[in-house]
Amino acid sequence: MTWSGKLRAGLGLAGLIVLFGLVGPLLTGDPATIRDIGLTPPGHGHLLGTTIIGQDVLAQLTHATRGSLWIGVLVGVMATVLSAIFGIVGAYAGGVVDEAFSLFSNVMLVIPGLPLVIVIAGFVPADQRGTWTISLVLAITGWAAAARVLRAQTLSLRNRDYVAAARVSGEKTWRVICVEILPNLLPILASQFVFAVVLAILSEAGLSFLGLGAADSSTLGTMLYYAQNGFALQREAWWWFVPPGLVIALFGGALSLVNFSIDEIINPALRERIRRRSDVVATTPVVEAVDEDAVLTVSDLNVVYQGVTPVHAVKNVSLTLRRGEILGLAGESGCGKTTLAYAINRLHRPPAEVTSGSVVFDGVDVLALGPEELREFRWVRLSMVFQGAMNSLNPVTPIRAQLQDVLRTHRPSLSTSDREARCAEVLRLVGVDPARLGSYPHELSGGMRQRVMIAMALLLEPQVMIMDEPTTALDVLVQREILNEIKRLRDELRFAVVFITHDLPLLLELSDRIAVMREGEVVEYATAEEMYLRPQHPYTRQLLASFPSLTGERGALIR
């Protein structure tokens, strides 16, 4: 079911139940009328049978549904207002107010709700326990979780540019909250409201079942209370006991369907359906490599993101990487260079598919590897350094575990001490103190994290390393250090590098050969010298002119 399908089904079902509660009581007569036909099974006169004293179950059900809905809405509104006050206002005000409100919400959250409700209900004499009292108590004990979520959301909204702009331009606080912040919180508020209504109906049913419900109203909970005390189940009068619970369950189910779709509106990642199919749809037969020295040959590779309108991200790309060579891959964001890099290692995910072409790695047809062969191929022959090392390292384990993982998987015969020694060795290679092995990623600087990633890529001495913008997130000085490190390591260890960046002048300095990509195609492919002296394609010239280079002077040379 698609998210709009869920929304429709949920709203439809919930709507039917609301209608049942609103209109039903007008059609079904007096629920309290006592007849001498106790416990009649469902039949002609009484569609859902009768209770032990002959009341019509259907009539009771309609009135009870109305009562439960009323309490649900009352509590829903009150709890949402309370959570909005404590969540939004606190977070917006900041400082002491926020601290106090947040402490209060958290305290209310950890104090168990139902025992508190029971104690309060226990102190209020039964004749004074009305719908409003019960609703108020349920609202007071049920708003805190929502306030926490709202606070977190408001905090992130507060720092957005447009809100800051509104505040700087002198708009009144209440106006900023109502006009700039509230509309953005609406989906969450709606979801919280729905949740509060369901929770209230369930809690009220529980309270009534315990004999602590509202004295002046009939709800699904009181109906169940009477059914239970009339031994409905023991007398096998399921028509008396099952329907009230079923109405609650259906209503709760319908609203959770609505909540599902609200979740999917807020978080699109939950929405997309992933079709499970092969990542490689078709390959072109491998032709014998012409170049004896080539370690990686990509021929006529095509990658398509399958969707309503398929996006052809990589078009007929052919590249050759020689042993020990640095191949630069340049192009603006979205030109397909990262997709290409992932496809070489078959890391691309649905909906991306390789639709044709071949990738040959030192005689191995990568696109034809089975899952287990592919897993053994990765990192041993070809390792990768990703953009933004902060996110590439697992935040919750020390880097030692992440380095050792590789050895444990690919070199299972290695002893514990050898593993430790190898990890220390690669860290030393990239200039990081091996004492850092016990550190967590957040304890390292950006440059150090990137060095750790490079060390990890070196662990198994692969023939090829793909580096996807390894220095983009770093400041210029650190960037320079890392680049020098890469060049030095390449000279020492003789691995080949595919270096991906949008900074063409940087590549001119670093690479042996360069491919310029635009809209999925390689528009120019030449040695660095050739490209520097005689750029052929107008786009290449444009790129060279538009980037101030690392050293600040080269870009200016090209016109």
Partner: protein, 332 residues
């Protein structure tokens, strides 16, 4: 302030709030609990000397004879001495003894059932998230529906089907009453047998929440770069799933475990009512029905302290599984 110190301080504040709520509620609400209690006490043949009355007044309010502050101090003093008063419904037992006798039942039943539900829910949620797009997806709406069903309704129907109908489980109670409570194998076996269906109903009605939460976090975690890196490293699928994706995705669930405990305890009150289980929840209801205010307040306090204590333990453990929280000194 260090992470652990801040956590302890927060729970002390929460404890103080609960204690104060307990003090304020009987004084703010209508009715005259002390008179009702004294009347009850008289019915049961208890002493109605001024000392007994004074003890209840300390607990529930003197009706304006002493100042609020005086009452509050006297109340706190009694609490510190562990003096929760005398129960009316179980006269002449002390409230603390009544609680002591019933608390272990609840802790074992609710504790085990919650743990099972958490482990199962999180495990299944991780799997459902990881194998997204397969038949496992249908587990999500199915278990969510179970959470929308009124708990006691489901439990009663299960009792009717499995206990009355098929006779697989006992109808109610915590153990076979012919046995003497103790550490004998017969008694423990009987307690286990009696606890199975209540535990099963708790698991059934609470597993959906864990499953959905974990599955959604898993889906988010799977698009993180560190999972991509782990795949590029050629690690086995199960290792990527457990050590990288699930290890990160489980964090909010662990944090949420603390909060959900309050709900679990609430649910257990209803459970105990359904199964006539000899735990603290049925004692609470019994106290409410008999206007045994001292017992009511004592139980509320003990439940709150238990929940806060469990929360504290989980929060301290959380610091162990996520190093970042220890180093961050903002937000509670």
């Amino acid at each position: 302030m260090g992470y652990h110190l801040r956590k302890v301080a927060f729970y002390l504040a929460a404890l103080w709030a609960a204690v104060t709520l307990n003090f304020v509620i009987p004084r703010l609400l209508p009715g005259n609990p002390v008179d009702i209690l004294m009347a009850k006490l008289q019915q049961r043949g208890g002493s109605v000397d001024p000392a007994a009355r004074q003890a209840y007044e300390t607990l529930l309010g003197t009706g304006g004879r002493d100042s609020f502050a005086q009452e509050y101090l006297a109340y706190l003093g009694n609490l510190l001495r562990g003096d929760l008063g005398v129960s009316v419904s179980a006269f002449p037992a002390k409230v603390s003894d009544v609680i002591g006798g019933s608390l272990p039942w609840t802790i074992v039943l609710v504790g085990l059932a919650t743990l099972i539900s958490f482990v199962l829910g999180v495990g299944l949620g991780a799997l459902v998230g990881w194998k997204r797009g397969t038949w496992l997806d249908s587990l999500v709406p199915a278990t969510t529906m179970l959470s929308a069903v009124p708990y006691f309704w489901l439990a009663l129907i299960l009792v009717a089907l499995l206990s009355s109908g098929l006779g697989w489980f006992p109808l109610n109670g915590g153990y076979d009453v012919v046995l003497d409570p103790g550490w004998s194998p017969e008694f423990l076996g009987s307690a286990l047998y009696h606890g199975t269906l209540p535990a099963l109903t708790i698991v059934l009605s609470s597993i959906g929440g864990w499953l959905l939460g974990m599955r959604n976090m898993m889906v988010s975690a799977m698009s993180e770069d560190y999972v991509l890196t782990a795949r590029a490293k050629g690690l086995t699928g199960s290792r990527v799933m457990v050590r990288y994706a699930a290890r990160n995705a489980v964090l909010p669930s662990v944090a949420g475990f603390a909060i959900s405990l309050g709900f679990v305890v609430s649910g257990s009150i209803v459970t105990e009512q359904v199964f006539s289980y000899p735990g603290i929840g049925s004692k609470l209801l019994q106290a409410v029905q008999n206007n045994d205010y001292a017992l009511m307040q004592g139980i509320f306090l003990v439940i709150t302290i238990a929940v806060l204590g469990a929360n504290l333990v989980v929060d301290l453990l959380y610091g162990l599984i996520d190093a970042r929280t220890r180093d961050r000194s903002t937000a509670s």
